[in-house]
């Protein structure tokens, strides 16, 4: 097995000789309040082994009961992926040993998944900046339960190697998972890494829109396994695949595909054979290393779970669930961009910041799309990043942003003062009006005070005043700046400019 670094073949060189085939298996942890087969809570980050019962601990005699909410979520995901929904399906036991798995079998679905035969149209940008659509076919989406988590104590790395002992936390055991499996994605060529990333990104957006999962890759609520194989260019046969497990960021999905293409090509060019194996992705070094060798027929000894009655969702229920599907995120994005008049670049920033729903709500509260975008993406995003929180958790609501914007439009405050109002809002100092009053932030537009300040500025910067008198109106900025400084930023800049012009031209 090749755990040592191989001399990689550059990506473009590899793609000149080989066609990649991709396969993606994405696990989505559902956000149901209770576990897949029992009533235990599913809160993330609870004290170890405080959310467990005989069922999810797999104690002798305990029996599973299916969580109806998880079935509903599975069906909604299936429908959103254009899948067929099974009229009748069963759970199966997947028998294998895994240290974190209390029953030593996983209750999953085998030959009878709840959803199958679907597709997702994935949008990518070509070199000319145009949007291209690539159809990814979905083989199945099936339900299963998550395992517990091991904690390895005593080693330097936190990995099992070198640890003194291991502890198991079963809080995660039994949390409902949906596994979404693509058919082999062929014909992606050199776009394979990009398509893989775009697929997972778009799938994540869909999951968020459906509201069925927290969809946090960093917390493992979405995890992707990346399968990749290379075949000689033009060949119909699939090459031997490697399966890179638990890739946990979008960037890593792209990098892992790229890396595996380069690694496979190196082996094949050398006349070697790619091993069918699972591989681990290393975020820090950007490489994969060998996990375990895997044969085609892993002997999981599947058989129907005898403790669970079959799942047979009625067609009426499925149709009802179809009506609850949200607008497809891709369609919605295009519609809002057109409605708001955002440029592609603006839209990309908005989307990357996760600001679209916040902007929507701010517009609904009365702001213009451009002002809403300006506050969220140009101003509040910086604070969210500084505080290390999601934009939505920055401490300001869309309604407050709209209120601040109205105060700016009414010239009660200017943009600079508005930033201080946001400071006050984040600090919990009250309503924008209360903050303006308490901090004394209102704009001064009283001509008496402004004229006095302009006179002082002219006196302080006679050279600048002469330039303006000489026709260089752009120089007014320096005088305005002086007035602003003198008045603590609270002067009405437009009025100050007018007074300067009245005096000097």
């Amino acid at each position: 097995m090749s755990t040592t670094a191989v001399a990689l073949v550059p990506f473009d060189t590899a793609l000149a000789s080989y066609d990649p085939a991709l396969g993606l298996e994405v696990h989505v942890e559902l956000n149901s309040n209770t576990k897949m087969f029992c009533g235990c809570p599913t809160e993330f980050g609870a004290e170890p082994n405080t959310q467990v019962c005989p069922v999810c601990l797999g104690l002798p005699g305990a029996m599973p009961v299916v969580n109806a909410k998880a079935i509903e979520s599975a069906i909604r995901i299936g429908l959103a992926l254009n899948c067929e929904i099974a009229e009748w399906c069963r759970f199966a036991r997947k028998n294998y040993f895994y240290p974190d798995m209390p029953k030593n079998f996983q209750t999953s679905q085998y030959d009878e998944p709840i959803a199958f035969e679907g597709f997702m149209d994935v949008d990518i940008q070509n070199a000319a900046g145009e949007t291209e659509t690539f159809r990814v076919e979905i083989e199945r989406a099936h339900m299963e339960e998550d395992t517990g988590k091991s904690l390895h104590v005593g080693g330097a790395t936190g990995r099992i190697h070198g640890a003194d002992y291991s502890l198991v936390d079963y809080n995660r055991a039994g949390i409902p998972l949906i596994e979404i499996v693509t058919k082999p994605i062929r014909g992606a060529g050199e776009k394979a890494p990009e398509i893989a990333k775009a697929y997972v990104a778009q799938l994540r957006e869909l999951i968020v829109a459906l509201g069925v999962s927290d969809a946090r890759m960093d917390q493992g609520s979405i995890r992707a396994d990346v399968n990749l194989s290379l075949a000689p260019k033009g060949s119909d046969v699939l090459g031997t695949r490697s399966e890179t497990k638990n890739v946990n960021s979008l960037r890593s999905v792209e990098r892992a595909v790229r890396y595996e293409v380069e690694r496979h090509a190196a082996i094949l060019n050398d006349g070697g054979k790619v091993l069918q194996e699972t591989r681990h992705w290393h975020e820090d070094t950007g490489v994969t290393t060998s996990g375990r060798e895997k044969s085609d027929a892993d002997d999981y000894r599947y058989f129907p779970e005898p403790d669970l009655v079959p799942v047979a969702p009625s067609r009426a229920w499925v149709d009802e669930l179809r009506l609850t599907l949200p607008e497809n995120p891709t369609v919605r994005k295009a519609r809002l961009q057109a409605e708001y008049g955002f440029t592609d670049l603006e839209m990309r920033d908005v989307w990357a910041a996760g600001a679209l729903p916040l902007i929507e709500a701010t517009v609904a509260a009365g702001a213009t799309p451009q002002s809403a975008r300006k506050w969220w993406v140009a101003e509040l995003l910086r604070r969210a990043n500084d505080a290390g929180v999601e934009l939505a958790a920055v401490g300001v609501t869309p309604v407050q942003v709209a209120a601040v914007q109205k105060l700016v439009e009414a010239k009660t405050i200017n943009d600079k003062l508005a930033r201080q109002v946001f400071d006050g809002l984040i600090a919990g100092e009250g309503t924008p009006e209360e903050i303006i009053a308490a901090r004394g932030l209102a704009v001064v537009s009283d001509d008496g005070a402004l004229t006095a300040a302009v006179d002082a500025a002219i006196e302080a910067q006679p050279a600048v005043a002469d330039k303006i008198r000489g026709g260089n109106h752009a120089a007014a900025g320096a005088l305005i700046g002086g007035v602003m400084k003198a008045m603590g930023g609270q002067a009405d800049a437009a009025r100050v400019r007018e007074i300067i012009m009245e005096k000097l031209t």
Binding site: P60, M63, R93, P99, N104, R301, D307
Partner: protein, 505 residues
């Protein structure tokens, strides 16, 4: 022995109601009897003396306040050690679970507590319910009270022997291929396997989930009906439990005791009986048929051709499910742990613990099941066995289209000598020949005493089978036959059992 102990539960209920005895006195009499004879019989693995007396005292107090919890409030009961009990060990007759005290009650145990029945203790059984003689218990065999050199049947030999030896008026057993009915037959007691799903399996440590059923072991048909009425019904914790309630089984038994069977069509299963069956068993069976005819029943012969494959199908399905169920015993979280010397890996510990913790019969079935499910063999074995189940189901459907109930001897022979078939698993398995089809099809069956075989003076069982959910029919016909037989004998069959010599424990 106190005369009290010879009474049926229904008679004891009347004495309790009339204030002629207290539950404490009754429970103490049972405990005294256990102390007297269980050293010889070894029906119990755990005796809950203090707990049972406390529960009896609570029952007496309730009775004084007129607040009875159920018709059987105050009547003590023994529970097969495969059902989980808070505060009492649950070993399933195995070493690997030695000393395990479950943190939760099986639903049936909870219902016993809620019904006010003092629990005398946990009864001996073949390890993980695998066996037909109770000789595969890791804690030594149970003796048959009729002849202590003989087996009490299995796997529920402990429950049957406890009832036959007058240690407990009532017991709960479990029946996967006949483990209530066959011990019932060879100990002269009444044993019922209800319709699959009629009684919750939650907390029953599964051998083969799709076949297992909890059921009563008693001295009369009415007592079994009272007990099934108490512990039966839908359980939200067991998704395979029947959603709808059965009609009152005690009412059906009382109706049947009048003995009128006019209009009843009884089918004798051609494939269960005749050549190879012990003549004394056949003779008693035929006499019972005559009694049924005399009471107005029409008796016809019916053929169930697929029954010849039942044993083979059973010995595929059962070990497949069992092998998966037993995988959880890895010595890491509960139960026995054997640590080999040196620097053993986790695998070494598991291997050593399983080697020491599982008996030969259990290992045999784990290997059988693992093999039959493994890739490439599933279709040949497990899938074929499931097809046979469908055929057996069809045989039942066809037969029940012609007749109201089906009958056969419960077991081909009377109780064999301890040790006689220990080295011949196939001969042992044949003890369940007549009982297995009901488990494969999920239909209910009852075994009641039909007299003593001429050649050895040992009890013979008469089995009645009914369509799924027609458990009331079993109790009606069973109670009728019981009344007719007792009229002949002048007393219950158990009154002919030899007195057991006291043996100190």
């Amino acid at each position: 022995m106190s005369d009290l102990l010879k009474k049926s539960a229904a008679e004891l209920v009347e004495l309790l109601a009339a204030g002629e005895i207290s539950s404490v006195a009754l429970t103490q009499a049972c405990l005294d009897r256990i102390a007297e004879v269980d050293g010889t019989i070894h029906a119990f693995l755990h005796i809950n003396a203090e707990g049972a007396i406390a529960e009896a005292a609570a029952s007496d107090a309730r009775r004084l306040r007129g607040e009875l919890l159920s018709p059987l409030d105050g009547v003590p009961i023994a529970v097969k050690d495969v059902l989980t009990t808070i505060g009492q060990p649950t070993t399933c007759g195995s070493k690997i679970l030695e000393g395990w005290i479950p943190p939760y009650d099986a639903t049936v145990v909870r219902k016993l507590r809620e019904g006010g029945l003092p629990i005398l203790g946990k009864t001996n059984m073949d390890e993980f319910a695998m066996g037909s003689s109770t000789e595969h218990s890791a804690y030594g065999p149970t003796a048959n009270p009729w002849d202590i050199t003989r087996i009490p049947g299995g796997s529920g030999g402990g429950s049957a022997a406890a009832v036959a030896a007058f240690e407990a008026p009532l017991a709960l057993g479990t029946d996967t291929g006949g483990s209530i009915r066959q011990p019932g037959a060879v100990t002269g007691t009444v044993g019922v396997k209800p319709t699959y799903g009629a009684i919750s399996r939650y907390g029953l440590v599964a051998m083969a989930n799709s076949l297992d059923q909890v059921g009563p072991v008693t001295r009369t048909v009415l007592d079994s009906a009272l007990l099934q009425d108490l512990v039966g019904g839908h359980d939200p914790l067991d998704s395979t439990s029947l959603p709808e309630a059965l009609p009152s089984l005690a009412d059906a038994a009382r109706l049947g005791a009048a003995g009128d069977l006019s209009g009843l069509k009884v089918g004798v299963i051609k494939e269960l009986g005749g050549e190879g069956w012990q003549p004394g068993v056949i003779t008693r069976f035929d006499e019972s048929l005559e009694l049924l005819k005399a009471a107005g029943a029409e008796v016809v012969e019916v053929s169930c051709p697929s029954f010849v494959h039942a044993l083979a199908a059973y010995y595929l399905v059962m070990p497949c499910e069992a092998s998966s169920n037993l995988a959880k015993f890895d010595a890491m979280r509960y139960g026995l742990r054997v640590t080999p010397s040196g620097d053993p890996s986790a695998e070494d510990v598991m291997r050593a613990s399983r080697d020491a913790g599982f008996g030969d019969e259990v290992k045999r079935r784990i290997i059988l099941g693992t093999y039959a499910l493994s890739s490439g063999y599933y279709d040949a074995y497990y899938a074929s066995a499931q097809k046979v189940r469908t055929l057996i189901q069809r045989d039942f459907d066809a037969a029940f289209a012609q007749v109201d109930v089906l009958v056969s001897p419960t077991a081909p022979t009377t109780a064999w000598k301890l040790g006689e078939k220990l080295d011949d698993p196939l001969a042992m398995y044949k003890g369940d020949l007549a009982t297995i089809p009901a488990n494969l099809a999920g239909v209910p069956g009852i075994s009641l005493p039909a007299g003593l075989a001429d050649e050895d003076g040992l009890p013979v069982g008469f089995q009645i089978l009914a369509p799924a959910r027609a458990d009331d029919r079993l109790y009606r016909v069973g109670a009728a036959l019981e009344a007719l037989l007792e009229k002949q004998w002048g007393a219950p069959l158990l009154s002919q059992a030899p007195a057991l010599e006291g043996a100190s424990k």
